[in-house]
Subunit: 318 residues, 3 copies
Amino acid sequence: MKHFLSALDVPDVTALADSAAAFKAAPRSAETLGRGKRIGCLFLNPSLRTRLSTQVAAQQLGMEAIVFNVGAEGWALEFAEGAVMNGTTVEHVKDAAPILGQYFDILAIRTFPGLKDRAEDYSERYISQFVKYAGVPVVSLESATLHPLQSLADLLTIRETFAGGRRPKVVLSWAPHVKPLPQCVANSFAQWMTVWGGADFVVTHPEGYTLDPQYTKGASITHNQDEAFEGADYIYVKNWSSYEQYGQILSNDTDWMLTLDKLKATNNGKVMHCLPVRRNVELSDEVLDSAHSLVTQQAGNRVWAAQAVLADILKSNA
Amino acid sequence: MKHFLSALDVPDVTALADSAAAFKAAPRSAETLGRGKRIGCLFLNPSLRTRLSTQVAAQQLGMEAIVFNVGAEGWALEFAEGAVMNGTTVEHVKDAAPILGQYFDILAIRTFPGLKDRAEDYSERYISQFVKYAGVPVVSLESATLHPLQSLADLLTIRETFAGGRRPKVVLSWAPHVKPLPQCVANSFAQWMTVWGGADFVVTHPEGYTLDPQYTKGASITHNQDEAFEGADYIYVKNWSSYEQYGQILSNDTDWMLTLDKLKATNNGKVMHCLPVRRNVELSDEVLDSAHSLVTQQAGNRVWAAQAVLADILKSNA
Amino acid sequence: MKHFLSALDVPDVTALADSAAAFKAAPRSAETLGRGKRIGCLFLNPSLRTRLSTQVAAQQLGMEAIVFNVGAEGWALEFAEGAVMNGTTVEHVKDAAPILGQYFDILAIRTFPGLKDRAEDYSERYISQFVKYAGVPVVSLESATLHPLQSLADLLTIRETFAGGRRPKVVLSWAPHVKPLPQCVANSFAQWMTVWGGADFVVTHPEGYTLDPQYTKGASITHNQDEAFEGADYIYVKNWSSYEQYGQILSNDTDWMLTLDKLKATNNGKVMHCLPVRRNVELSDEVLDSAHSLVTQQAGNRVWAAQAVLADILKSNA
């Protein structure tokens, strides 16, 4: 593939998850693939797992990784076409992106949504302008609406832990939070589950939290969490702010927090979360500290997901 | 050379530009030269191109580069001799510099002027104290009054794009800006053009923006931009605050913004800018997005300039 | 050793100092020891020497070092067991630490005390929770109460400069400062001196500045600085806030600043300080700029101390 912004950029998500699993088994199996190649990781927003796992993945492929914190270390970028730049932005993406494309073989970018203007956020203007102007492959480290490296790690986690000899039941369950969060992880997980097609996939959330239908096509959607949990093999817990009343917190019904008690209805369900997690707000301590939790394994898998993606891009663009 | 703070540190600027061109043709041609050597890049001020191009250049020479953001990651340095340090500065350059000299083989430093006290800024006290106390070669990543890595990249850009079989006419043209900027890039470009001596060099700016004469000796200076542009091969656009009424913005005459219309008088003039550029303030979109613009190529050349400088220092201090 | 949090983790501090001296003599003598290994350096607080010397040490062992500024680049961690995380902390150490343990072979952490609650600080809750949850060796880059990498460098400095053929007299002398500082460096130096046992060790400070007795057992303690300095071979100058009236500045008696005049009573005493130092507050310029000062050598030795520690951990956990 050329760019990695969404599941739709991936010819075969199962094959990509297989590649991630292979790197997990043999981390240094392609340690010269990226020799003499450089990846630039631009963070317009903070990051822990994504930053570190991408650096680790690049190193294991023999690439040189350079991290740059836009804002903290640099300056505010302008994205508006035709802007008269007499305000606070000091450089236009049209000028910055081609230069980054000259310095790096792959550009990886994190940029969060503003959560004020849905059309603006869902246009993915920021990352798409990097794609347009950089002239090199662009990898999303989480964009305004999607988080594909997370979703690939999630898919790897499900595939490596399920031994049922049947289709697992996977539930994406909304959870309360104190701040309005992007829909990225939820959109992206739904997209990967439906594109993959290997699970019975259910999304459950309170009224008003319906996700963008382009990502949930083929999923069962219900406001009844109890019903959704019935016989589930995996519960993916995640907060998101409203897509309909864009960026709003409509409810903080603490009943939606995942507890051990709720897991009783599941098929000894495994619990997933992308982290960071607000303990005792989204999930209870007792769940996170139990054998149900896959969150550490899932975050560990971020390395192999990133490595599979970078390796594929290096091969495709060699 | 030992240090790289100005064109005057360079025995032969043409030979150095040739070395940069050679690295552009063969980036890894000296990939073991810096083996086991370390460069420390200290940023007392933000940076994008300089930071990344220096890291890339170092890597391509086989050096280990470590970046340190003074302030954000460390603490405020004291530069005053004899200071009783009971205020906000927590470490004296006399103590910090020798230690950095023990950790690194080359020290590269960015430090901006305060634009309040001309004598202070033009004394280059900050970077010269690193030179005095570090005990290792010091490379300017832009200091209070000069930006030699930029100027070397600029010289490379002019030399690789001019095929006239005669001396090009090169114009440095002041442009409006919303903030008072240092004179560094303008001083430095003027210095390199006059030291190089390969061009007919003209500086044009409104009244009150005369640069320090030590850097423009040998240049034609005019307040008439139209006259300056007549038959020009290169227009280098740059804002600077007043040197005479130090650090002030005296005029923001929007007439000085470079437009396509103004380029008509030139000899199909190429347009340069060090970036970041305020679009539609310094230069119009139509110029930057036209074939006249060299700004991306120029920024790309920052890598080769840095690589030539580091390679020369490594060889000279071997 | 498994972890490196204190002198008590070290089977033989003399042997470790010997190893540091050996690396100083031959920096690249173990350059493949860390091949394919990664160290993650987490800074919850700012750092210059510790950050850079650890990166340098890791590189010289062939390790890949990744630095992460928690807070600036990431987010606030929660350390309280059972917290309902509906406030400003966004991730619990119980979730973050195991993931970092998956990404890195060694985790190095800097975390300062709050200086509000002595029991809290002296419980070393932060770093001990990383030890508990990370599942990999943890190295202190300075914790709430100790700074062992500094102390190992200090021990190396004393051992390599003393040629008396007898036990040196080493004095730790409190100095004034404008801010309340941790007791870490003082505690740690006292601990290493007493564990080492190779010196006659004296601690001198004004009333109210008694250190935690667990670290000064075996030392002579006096409020009489003149008496302490009598015949001393080494004066280690350091400010700390009160342990008894926890975190308070009780006195800023400028008489305690070290001057050349005070050194007359010593045996041509060498002067040490961990840096950063407030000139003309803790020590006078004339002392720091004299041949008495070991501070640059001492800071340079931070590299070899870190390298000895990392090498030992790599070997012990191979």
